[in-house]
């Protein structure tokens, strides 16, 4: 097998990977430890494997790893700053938008891309942006509310809260938040 060595940037860090010609980006990301990239349908429909490629959401199950040469990839692992959750992640918790969590990394990433492009999205824009990520636990009402709230929070940033160390307070203090 003719292995290929590719240089990519993942969450701002330069990486060199040795991949097989037929390796898909999803499988290489998971092999390299980015387990927040979820394996779902593997046919490009469910969106659980979504990552940002140069800032735009793509389904990593449909891309050959070799095509990622020289590109910037963002996964959920790069969204929080150390132990400080991103406002989008905070909003998903605040609004009870997470159930089993399998689709959540992709939902958060497509939201990041949406808000970067359109800081004040309409509900229709939010639904369109989330439309490529399937949630099979529940509906999309809470994720949509979370994204709209995250957009509002970004417009008027409040003081950031620690992500770790206060789980009890989080569960007790938030409307609708469930662990």
């Amino acid at each position: 097998m003719n292995q290929l060595v590719i240089a990519v940037t993942v969450n701002g860090e330069a990486r060199r990977w040795t991949v097989a010609p037929g390796d898909l980006l999803l499988d290489v990301l998971r092999r390299e430890g980015y387990w927040g990239v979820k394996k779902g349908c593997e046919t490009g429909e469910c969106g659980a494997c979504a990552v940002l490629l140069d800032g735009a959401p793509i389904n990593s199950c449909l891309m050959f790893a070799a095509q990622a040469e020289g590109r910037n990839i963002s996964t959920i692992e790069g969204v929080a700053e150390r132990d400080r959750l991103d406002p989008v992640q905070e909003a998903f918790l605040d609004h009870g938008a997470v159930q089993c969590g399998y689709c959540t990394p992709a939902m958060v990433l497509v939201t990041e891309a949406l808000l970067a492009r359109s800081p004040h999205p309409s509900e229709a824009e939010v639904r369109e942006a989330l439309g490529g990520v399937f949630c099979r636990c529940t509906g999309y009402k809470k994720p949509v509310e979370a994204v709209l709230a995250a957009a509002a929070a970004r417009a008027a940033p409040s003081k950031p809260r620690a992500a770790k160390g206060a789980p009890a307070k989080r569960a007790a203090g938030r409307k609708g938040a469930r662990r």
Partner: protein
């Protein structure tokens, strides 16, 4: 799934891509060009032994050329959806169609060239491009330009024959001579972003006296290839463009389809929906031309 693939070539010029593909072809084994991967990876063909990647080729552009437009083959659906030049062209039907070609992630990956070269009968770009009289530029030994209407040969069969689709050319829209041109794209699917049960595009020029002087009607997912409903177009031209003409043309267009029954719809339903979508498209043209009566 692609564990038997032994080579993944990443050329940066069209010439190199063609050279690599030809060399691999001579040495035997099956291979393909790949860009967005949204059709190729899903098809999962385990007989493939090599791929020639197109994503580094300088073919990702939308630009004016002469009175018309040139769209590079590796432009994505999202590129078309957002290109200001295309949103302003023909009431935005090409940008609108691109915006329905799958989920946001798929539209960030799937390319114009791939959408056409895959030659799905339900290809969303085909009806608007047929209505716009588009051609494709194919690079192989030399370059040739093929009208899109002659590019599709059957289900997943095209005039490419191992060559490479490098550009889509859209000519200047028809002269209106003081009248109005109006266009419409229609798609029927379970959701807008799903594969079409039927899709359709129409374009008309309505003269100052209310007569239709030029017409295009194109349909997808109702025959082995996307098709122009030429008899329906002929019914419109030279007559007042009104509701009676629209009903007659829509009925004729439905007769020109050759649909199949599959998991998404029966042939009878597709034929009936062809009539409905063509009627909707022409009605929207009528409204856009500002001549409702």
């Amino acid at each position: 799934m692609f564990d038997l693939l032994r080579a993944f070539h990443r050329p940066s010029t069209v010439a190199a891509a063609l050279r690599l593909f030809a060399a691999e072809r001579r040495s035997g084994g099956r291979g393909r060009f790949v860009a967005g991967g949204t059709d190729l990876v899903v098809a999962g063909d385990r007989s493939l032994r090599y791929l020639v990647d197109l994503s580094r080729l300088p073919l990702r552009y939308v630009k004016r050329r002469g009175g018309g437009w040139a769209v590079g083959a590796t432009s994505t659906m999202a590129d078309l959806e957002h290109a200001a030049a295309l949103r302003a062209l023909a009431d935005g039907i090409l940008a609108e169609a691109a915006g329905t070609a799958g989920s946001p992630q798929i539209r960030n990956m799937g390319t114009v060239g791939g959408n056409l070269a895959n030659a799905s009968p339900a290809c969303d770009l085909a009806p608007p491009l047929l209505a716009l009289d588009a051609s494709v530029v194919i690079a192989g030994r030399g370059r040739r330009t093929v009208p899109l209407a002659r590019f599709f040969k059957g289900v997943h069969r095209t005039a490419l024959d191992g060559d490479l689709l490098v550009e889509v050319v859209i000519p200047a829209p028809p002269k209106t001579a003081g009248g109005r041109a109006a266009w419409s794209f229609q798609k029927l699917g379970r959701l807008q972003s799903d594969i079409a049960v039927v899709n359709a595009a129409a374009g008309v020029v309505v003269a100052k006296d209310g007569r239709c002087t030029w017409a295009r009607i194109a349909l997808g997912a109702v025959a082995p290839t996307p098709l122009r409903a030429r008899r329906a177009e002929a019914l419109l031209v030279g007559r007042p463009f009104d509701r009676a003409a629209i009903e007659a043309a829509a009925g004729r267009a439905a007769q020109e389809t050759r649909p199949v029954t599959d998991v998404r719809a029966t042939a009878a339903y597709r034929r009936e929906m062809s009539r409905v979508l063509v009627a909707r498209a022409l009605t929207e043209c009528l409204e856009r031309a500002g001549r409702s009566r």
